[in-house]
């Protein structure tokens, strides 16, 4: 399952809830305001950091990261191009945590 989160973790619990329900082999893709969760050193960084420790593959959509000027990314978060995004959608069922 590809879990997509598009809300900031500072204003919405979508990411926290999503992480309670991820399973083996699942992938997390942060898009839109969801990419703020990939910032290191914030009060919400532990969400993504512990997901990575639990071997969850975490991507952030590069276009959204660049659009927001994020430069302190959590180590281990992979940047996804639009092509990567499409490739992920081709191999996974998608669950959008709107």
């Amino acid at each position: 399952m590809l879990h997509m989160v598009n809300k900031s973790p500072f204003s919405n619990c979508a990411l926290e809830s999503c992480l309670r329900f991820v399973g083996d082999g699942d992938v997390l893709l942060l898009i839109e305001d969801g990419v703020y969760a990939a910032t290191a050193g914030t009060v919400k960084s532990d969400l993504v950091e512990s997901a990575l420790r639990n071997k969850l593959a975490v991507y952030a959509l590069q276009a959204d990261v660049e659009a927001r000027g994020l430069d302190k990314m959590i180590e281990g978060v992979q940047l996804a191009s639009y092509d990567d995004f499409v490739a992920l959608l081709e191999v996974h069922n998608c669950h959008s945590w709107l």
Partner: protein, 133 residues
């Protein structure tokens, strides 16, 4: 031509009445069920508050959807689940939840089933598609 029915899950994660989401979710439940798809519904996060008993929207001047929730089973929306953690986080328990129909034989109320995250996660992994409200 016989095909296995599509497994569709609807998740309800927004509080009722403040927005149209829960209302829309219920409409979609009825539609999906009427197409004979294998539907499961999960109420989680603020969505669990949509199942709180004793809701009365009359002073808001809206009809609300409690009647629809009470008739879910009649419209073949039978697999209705609630996330236990979301209830606990909001100081709610199974006893706070409305019924979603009546048993045909005994006329006992049917209540949504409260499940742990793990059980819900397994169910999610098994779906063809998940619609989030």
């Amino acid at each position: 031509m016989s095909e296995t029915p599509r497994k569709v899950m609807i998740t309800v994660r927004k509080a009722p009445h403040g927005s149209i989401y829960v209302h829309e979710a219920i409409e979609v439940m009825f539609i999906v069920a009427s197409y004979g798809m294998e539907l499961s519904v999960v109420f989680m996060d603020d969505g669990v508050m949509a199942l709180k008993s004793g809701q009365n929207t009359s002073k808001l001047g809206i009809k609300g959807f409690m009647a629809s929730i009470g008739a879910l089973v009649d419209f073949e929306v039978e697999k209705v689940y609630v996330d236990r953690q979301s209830l606990l986080d909001r100081n709610m328990s199974e006893a706070d939840l409305v019924s979603i129909g009546e048993d045909e034989d005994t006329e006992e109320p049917i209540r949504p089933r409260v499940l742990d995250s793990r059980e819900i996660a397994e169910m999610m992994a098994d779906q063809h598609s998940i619609m989030s409200f």
